[in-house]
C-alpha cells in the first residue's frame, strides 16, 4: 500500500514537472513600450554596482543584463540591420551568414548559417554578452546557447510598422542606445508616403512573385505579411490579399485578377520581365503587355527591420512614379 502511494506521488510529481508553465499574468505597464518591461533596480550595496537590466523576450523568457550589452551577436539579417540602424553597429562582434546589410556588417565575423548549424564554438570564443535571436531561429537553438551560459534575447517578428518601431526600441534598450530620432524619421517618411497615396481613389492590382519556379503555380504573399501590408500602404491592391500567409496561386487566378503590376521579388534569382513574357500563358496579362513587370529587392520587404520603410517608398514609387518625380 505504502509502495503504491509512493509510486502515485512520484507520478504526479513527474507530471507536474512536465506540465507547461502557467501563462504569466499580465501586469499593467504604464510605459509606452508595450512588448517589454524594463526594470532598473539599483543594488542595495554601498558600492556603486552597475544597474541590472531585466527584460521579457519573445519566448516569454526573462533576460537579465548587467548593463547595456557591449558585445552582441546577431542571428538574423533583420537583427543585424536593426543593430546598425540604431547606432550599435560597433558593438556587433558576430553575425549570421545571411547578414549582408549594411556593407560594414559583412566585415563582422560570420558565425554560420542560422537555418543549418550555428557555429557554437565560434560563438563561445567571441565571448558575447548578448545574442540577439529572431523568429527564424528555433527554440532549440536558443536552448543550446542558453545551456552554454550565454545570454539570449529572442526578438519576435513584428506584424505592423508600429511593432517594428517597438522592436527598434527594445534593441536600443538592450544595447544602451536611443532609437527615438530614428523612429521619428521613419515615421515622418511613412507619413510622407501616406500623404501622397491616401487621397488617391484607384488601387491598381499587384501580383508580387516570391518564387515562380513553377510558372503555373507561382508563390506569392497574402495577408499577415509585410509584403501585403506595404503593397496596400503604397496604394496597390495585392491580388492575393484574401489568402493568408505565403500561398501558391494558380496561373488561372493570376489571369482572372489581371493585375496592372507584376513585381518580381525573385529578380535576385534571375527572373526578368523577358523571362516572365516567355512563360506559356503569361503573355496576355496586361502587366506583361504594358511593360509593368518590375524587378524588386525582396530584402526590403522580407526582413522585418527599419528598411521596411525603404521598401514602402520603393513600392510607392514603382506604383505611382508620377507622384515621386
Amino acid at each position: 500500500m505504502l509502495r503504491k502511494t509512493l509510486l502515485i506521488t512520484l507520478l504526479i510529481a513527474l507530471l507536474a514537472a512536465c506540465a507547461p508553465q502557467a501563462t504569466p499574468t499580465v501586469a499593467p505597464v504604464a510605459t509606452d513600450v508595450p512588448a517589454t518591461e524594463v526594470v532598473m533596480t539599483e543594488a542595495p550595496t554601498e558600492a556603486p554596482a552597475p544597474a541590472m537590466l531585466s527584460f521579457t523576450d519573445g519566448l516569454g523568457r526573462e533576460v537579465k543584463l548587467d548593463g547595456p550589452a557591449q558585445y552582441v551577436i546577431s542571428l538574423a539579417p533583420s537583427n543585424t540591420e536593426i543593430l546598425f540602424a540604431i547606432g550599435a553597429g560597433s558593438q556587433v562582434v558576430g553575425r549570421d551568414a545571411y547578414s549582408d546589410y549594411p556593407a560594414e556588417a559583412r566585415d563582422v565575423t560570420d558565425i554560420g548559417d542560422t537555418y543549418a548549424d550555428l557555429n557554437t564554438e565560434l560563438i563561445v570564443s567571441l565571448k558575447p554578452d548578448l545574442i540577439l535571436a529572431a523568429e527564424i531561429n528555433t527554440a532549440e537553438q536558443v536552448k543550446v546557447l542558453e545551456d552554454l551560459g550565454l545570454t539570449v534575447y529572442y526578438l519576435k517578428n513584428p506584424l505592423t510598422l508600429e511593432e517594428m518601431y517597438t522592436n527598434l526600441e527594445i534593441v536600443a534598450q538592450l544595447t544602451g542606445k536611443d532609437a527615438t530620432a530614428l523612429i521619428d524619421s521613419l515615421k515622418a517618411r511613412v507619413a510622407a508616403v501616406d500623404e501622397k497615396i491616401m487621397p488617391l481613389s484607384s488601387r491598381p492590382g499587384v501580383f508580387y512573385e516570391i518564387d515562380g519556379t513553377d510558372p503555373a503555380k507561382p508563390y506569392t504573399a497574402g495577408s499577415g505579411t509585410f509584403i501585403n501590408l506595404l503593397i496596400e500602404r503604397a496604394g496597390g491592391h495585392n491580388i492575393a490579399s484574401d489568402i493568408e500567409g505565403y500561398p501558391q496561386l494558380s496561373l488561372e487566378q493570376v489571369v482572372a485578377a489581371d493585375p496592372a503590376f507584376i513585381i518580381l521579388g525573385d529578380s535576385a534569382f534571375g527572373v526578368t520581365a523577358e523571362s516572365i513574357a516567355a512563360r506559356p500563358g503569361w503573355e496576355n496579362l496586361s502587366a506583361v503587355k504594358n511593360g509593368q513587370v518590375l524587378p524588386f529587392d525582396d530584402n526590403l520587404l522580407s526582413r522585418p527591420g527599419p528598411r521596411l520603410v525603404d521598401g514602402l517608398e520603393a513600392l510607392a514609387e514603382l506604383l505611382r512614379p508620377e507622384l515621386f518625380k
Binding site: C18, Q21, Y115, E121, K127, G149
Partner: protein, 331 residues
C-alpha cells in the same frame, strides 16, 4: 585485417581523440590537455571542449554504435545483405513523427523543447509494431512478410511526410535538415537520455550473436537445433528497433552506416555473429565520428548534414573494400 578487437578499438580511440581535437576553433594540443584535466584558465576553451565537443562526440559515438550494431543484427536476422536498421520502418516512422512535431509551434518549456525527438521516437516504435502485427500470420512471422510489410509501411509514412512538408510554410528547411541527419540539438541532456536505451538494446544484440549464427540455417533448422526461433527473432527485432529509434530520434536519419559497417566487418573478420555484432558496434562508432569530423570541416564555418557525408565517404570506401575482398560471395 588481423586482431579484430584491437584494430577496431584503436580505430575508435583515434576517432574519439580527433573528434575532441578538431573544430572550427583551434585549440593547441597542450592547452587541450590542460582543458581535459581541468587545469585550464581559458573559460571559452573549457566551454567549447566540455559543453560542445564532448557531448557531441559521445552522441555521435552512441548513434554510430546503434546503427551499425542493429544493422548487423538485421542482416543476420533477415539473412539479407541489403538489410539495414531502417528496413522495417524505423526511419520513415521517425521521420513522419519528427516532421509532424516540427509543424507545431511548441512552447518554450522542457517538454516543448524535447517534442521533436519524443514524437519521432514514439512514431518510430509504433511503425515497427504495426509492421510486425501485419506480418504476423496466425502466430508465425515469415521474414519475407516482415520485409514486405516494412517496405509498404515505409512508403506510406514517407508519402505522408512529403505531404506534410509540402503543406508546411515555415519549417521546411528544418525538416529537410532533420531528414538528412543533422545533429543540431546538442548538449548533455540528449546524450545522457540515449544511454539507457543503447545499453539495454546493444547488450541484448551482443548476447544474441550465437542465436543469430543458428538462425542462418533457417527457422526450421534452428528450431530443430533447440532454438525458439520466433521468440529469438522478436527479441532481436525489439532490441534493434529500440536502439535505432532512439538514435534516429535524436540525430535524424543517417544512412549507410548501418548497411556498410557490418559488411566490412564480415569481409575482414569472418561470418561469426558473436564477433560481427560487437565489432560492428565499435567500428560503426568510429566511422560515424570520422564522418562527423568531415561534416564539420568541409565547408567550415558551416556544417554539412551528417547523412550526406556518410554515403559520400562511405560508398567509395565500401566499394574499395569490396574490390579487395578475397572471400567474395561469402554470405
Amino acid at each position: 585485417m588481423p586482431r579484430p578487437y584491437i584494430t577496431s578499438a584503436l580505430f575508435l580511440l583515434i576517432a574519439l581523440l580527433l573528434s575532441i581535437a578538431v573544430g572550427s576553433i583551434f585549440i593547441p594540443p597542450g592547452e587541450l590537455w590542460r582543458v581535459l584535466i581541468g587545469m585550464t584558465t581559458n573559460e571559452s576553451f573549457r566551454t567549447i571542449v566540455w559543453d560542445i565537443r564532448l557531448p557531441r562526440t559521445i552522441l555521435i559515438t552512441l548513434v554510430g554504435a546503434a546503427l551499425a550494431g542493429s544493422g548487423a543484427a538485421y542482416q543476420g536476422l533477415f539473412r539479407n545483405p541489403l538489410a539495414d536498421p531502417y528496413l522495417i520502418g524505423v526511419a520513415s516512422g521517425a521521420g513522419l513523427g519528427a516532421v509532424f512535431a516540427l509543424s507545431i509551434q511548441w512552447q518554450y518549456t522542457p517538454l516543448g523543447l524535447l517534442a521533436v525527438p519524443l514524437i519521432a521516437f514514439i512514431a518510430s516504435l509504433l511503425t515497427v509494431y504495426l509492421v510486425y502485427m501485419f506480418a504476423n500470420i496466425g502466430g508465425v512471422v515469415p521474414t519475407t512478410n516482415l520485409i514486405l510489410a516494412g517496405v509498404a509501411f515505409s512508403s506510406f509514412a514517407t508519402s505522408l511526410t512529403s505531404f506534410l512538408m509540402l503543406r508546411s510554410t515555415g519549417e521546411l528547411r528544418r525538416a529537410i535538415g532533420w531528414l538528412l541527419g543533422g545533429v543540431s540539438l546538442i548538449g548533455w541532456d540528449v546524450t545522457l537520455a540515449l544511454i539507457p536505451y543503447l545499453l539495454i538494446g546493444l547488450t541484448t544484440l551482443v548476447l544474441n550473436g550465437y542465436a543469430l549464427n543458428i538462425l542462418q540455417f533457417g527457422d526450421d533448422q534452428a528450431t530443430q537445433m533447440g532454438l525458439n526461433a520466433r521468440r529469438t527473432k522478436l527479441i532481436i527485432i525489439v532490441a534493434a528497433s529500440l536502439v535505432t529509434a532512439a538514435a534516429v530520434s535524436f540525430a535524424g536519419i543517417i544512412g549507410f552506416v548501418g548497411l556498410v559497417v557490418p559488411h566490412v566487418v564480415r569481409i575482414w573478420w569472418g561470418v561469426d555473429y558473436r564477433r560481427i555484432i560487437p565489432l560492428s558496434i565499435v567500428s560503426g562508432a568510429g566511422l560515424l565520428l570520422l564522418a562527423d569530423i568531415l561534416a564539420r570541416v568541409v565547408i567550415a564555418p558551416q556544417e554539412l548534414p551528417l547523412g550526406i557525408i556518410t554515403a559520400l565517404v562511405g560508398a567509395p570506401f565500401f566499394l574499395w573494400v569490396l574490390r579487395r575482398a578475397k572471400n567474395q560471395g561469402t554470405w
